[in-house]
Symmetry: C2
Subunit: 603 residues, 2 copies
Amino acid sequence: MTDFKAPVSDINFLVNDVFKFEQHYKTFPAYEEATPDLVDAIVEECAKFCENELAPLNHSGDKEGCSFDNGEVTTPSGFKDAYQQYIEAGWQGLAHPTEYGGQGLPVSLGLIKSELVGTANWSFGMYPGLSLGAMNTILEHGSDEQKNIYMPKLTEGTWSGTMCLTEAQCGTDLGQIRTKAEPNDDGSYSITGSKIFISAGEHDLTENIIHIVLARLPNAPKGTRGISLFIVPKFLINEDNSIGERNPVVCGSIEDKMGIKASATAVLNFDGAKGYLIGPENKGLECMFTFMNTARIGTAIQGVAASELGYQTSLAYAKDRMSMRSLSGKKAPDQIADPIIHHPDVRRMLLTQKAIVEGGRAMTYYAAKIADEMDQASCPEQKEAADNKLGFLTPILKAFLTELGNESASHAIQVFGGHGYIKEWGLEQNARDVRISSLYEGTTGIQALDLVGRKILLDRAQLFKAFSIEILAFCKDHSMISGNPQKKRMHKFIWQLSKEVANWQRHTVSLMLKARKDRDFVGSCSVDYLMYSGYIFMAYMWAMMAQSANENLTAGKGDKNFNKAKVRTAEFYFDRIFPRVKTLTNTMMSDANSLMKIEIDQF
Amino acid sequence: MTDFKAPVSDINFLVNDVFKFEQHYKTFPAYEEATPDLVDAIVEECAKFCENELAPLNHSGDKEGCSFDNGEVTTPSGFKDAYQQYIEAGWQGLAHPTEYGGQGLPVSLGLIKSELVGTANWSFGMYPGLSLGAMNTILEHGSDEQKNIYMPKLTEGTWSGTMCLTEAQCGTDLGQIRTKAEPNDDGSYSITGSKIFISAGEHDLTENIIHIVLARLPNAPKGTRGISLFIVPKFLINEDNSIGERNPVVCGSIEDKMGIKASATAVLNFDGAKGYLIGPENKGLECMFTFMNTARIGTAIQGVAASELGYQTSLAYAKDRMSMRSLSGKKAPDQIADPIIHHPDVRRMLLTQKAIVEGGRAMTYYAAKIADEMDQASCPEQKEAADNKLGFLTPILKAFLTELGNESASHAIQVFGGHGYIKEWGLEQNARDVRISSLYEGTTGIQALDLVGRKILLDRAQLFKAFSIEILAFCKDHSMISGNPQKKRMHKFIWQLSKEVANWQRHTVSLMLKARKDRDFVGSCSVDYLMYSGYIFMAYMWAMMAQSANENLTAGKGDKNFNKAKVRTAEFYFDRIFPRVKTLTNTMMSDANSLMKIEIDQF
């Protein structure tokens, strides 16, 4: 297996050259401390920790997996120690409030940390990652008392948290939830039911686990409008904040699954466990959704992480492995054959990965800036605006990047030929690990319905319009019309991008009209429309990156090869990946009949 | 896990209605016995065996895997017994000569058997499957003495065979092979070297294993022109044909791999093992290639098999699992939610699988008929013609169907949502198992180079021309111009197909011209061109199937729902899958520069 190297230059290029985080952070008083030097130091430090401590446990963690014995889960060797180091270095509270012991640094920096941790070892990252979900829920909806009880320990990382939504009969359709919450005399509730697929639901890394649980109050309305949110700690907390008695929430088993084997996926049985209402009664789902966007960007990152890991490994192999001669003449005449990186089709597979990982990373950093804006909004209107924009981009990020992450991981295997199928290289693990990403946190189909149903149709495409206009404005700024001869280099990108954004606008209007006449069309076009939107978003990022790299080249700034590589990868993207829109625009506008006319007994 | 049901109606539809095997078999005297009744009985019997004996071992075989101990390999529980039943029923010799104890039935029927066996349990099918490779080599290139020694036992199945090509430093580039063959005084050879990735290289199913080994004679020319082929039995054979002493070819280990875990992939160490030259000296590679086409169709079938298995399982789940309400109104008002098969995007995923499995199966049966023609050719010219046609189609079948098999297996998981990631449903195994198919027997990239380099450029597109003209002739026969009003139903298919075949011709000419100027273009266009060709081939098959189904509907023949389903799936294919050619025609003609210009240190 190749040693993982954190992609620090790529991160710095986005942070400094493309998205100019320095200026961005300066607009928020609370981010004052996030100076370029500090950001640099944090990225470096995190990179080192991930390379040295987490990456070496990735393959062994898969091999060993978690073990389950009588309600207790043991994580693979080395995880406990690595987690201890992780919390001692303060990584868990990096982007959380200082009043609870966090470092109060930008949300975007927290996402960069998650990316690095997740690339080195996605299974490990699930434990602190799920905890962030619980922390955000408590921060957003908890009472001051609840925050004071739970936030310090969660921020410190000595406790962790989970999100308990899914039950055996429902994952997407949470209205079917059956777990009950009966009020106790002391104001607490008695939670009874069974939850499945609870990531980090039970493990040996922390002294307590704080479950956030969806359940129904007695006489709650049916469906999604009768679900409330509860805090259910594994161990109850005494009045002096010390750990108290064991709460009857017990892990019944852990799942035997395709990948992320070092991440425990628990069945949790609540047998009258004591819980505390968080947020208003029957508003549990709304509360959950308030930070769903950030959680989903967290999952989108898995696509980027898997692409990065696969790319690094397959690139090293392609430089090393010798097979056949280059079609255009010997490249390594002294050797028995040429390194396979000289073969055009191997390059196609490598560049596809490179385009996906770097384009995908840019998409998440673009979104991370908006997450900062939301976090630091100075008024509710600003917050809502940022939330809405993020809400429009989130389903695209989540579904598109995880689908492409799967594709990318498969290319990495393919570069290795038969060797890619063997466990020791780690690439088959990478492909197995990333396969979950388009399933959990809302499948690709669900993201697509969210995009088309809520973010386009319900919104009457206002958010779409704003985003597409933003891209056109970028195109205008960098088009040749602006008179700057240096823009010539950008011409081919700008031309293709602006043309396709115009198509995107046209198709979106047609889609809205067609959806009015046929509700099934909403579902039949949705995934193709989402992927189509994703390729445009990624094209926008590649045009931005090409622009920054060209600027650097003109100014003689930075590593010349690095900047040239960015421009060439942008060329590759526009030549070989972006044309996927040609098929998608065709299939997505195709009539729903070809899906709906066939009878169930004809399948 | 859903119980596997052999797709007998689909097979019969192809055998009887689309490809009319009865008439086809009648043209060959040796296939006289293959009457419709016999074919029917064999398919039924094979289906039963696969459903009852092989399918139940598929999941347990994956879980248990093969075990290795001191040179010996133990297959998973039940495999030995199932293999015994397999050979006792005479399945191994189904399509092999009666003079060696086979049943002498058509090659195409042998491929249908391989499909059924492989769909029920691909790992199991690898053992007899590899043996077929060894049998065909000996039949084609062995001396009469060699045939008499090895063929009866191999045909019976009490011995099995392997193909030993790959070494650690080379798989594709066999010119790098280092295994040596030193002549002994008795006319045999002493084989020394190490082979890897030997499927069925060691196991406990048969009393002997006959290895076909690529090795170099002393002073052999360098590269591929200095490779010879040897028979190396695990146990030497005494003069009275009884099993003799152990030959020093020893299994050093078996691979720990992503899938097909019940199929042992051996490292074989030859330590002066006794071997017998088969075929002429230094012509080993040519000998191997004589039946490569059939072997590669065997691998193409893995794509179909995985698609069938995934489709069956996900279809059953989609009818059963209830989640959300249909966008166009409640479909199961008495239930808490609608079965997910009512959701357009779930239908899209199911129909994509259905289109791939049924279209892919048709492609392999189309090729199987040509394999019969080759097998039964009455003169060398006929044989060469069939071999050439098969040679043109083989890389398309192998690469296209295995790539689509991977896609299909992933859709099956996706239909299940998070549950698809859990081992118990068997879908993650299906995805892991099929992943090998685009890697072994020549990767997708290698198939694509074979297609563009050998079958288009070297051949000056003569085979291409013949095949594309055949499709156009079909289009003409079924176009509205022919005056038959019944043809109207076929119009939309014929129109799209003939238009795209014309494009295919045009693009192929452009490709040939472009390849002359830039050798790297051959590699840069190859995979996209292969996939493009695959979608056209599959469209041809869907048009043929729609035509047969329409005929049946008009004649009131067969199950109405079945025939309607064929027409609707054809509609789906042409609406939603075939438009993939739009992207491919764009990317494949794109300049090689976008791949070649980037420097190695810029990756």
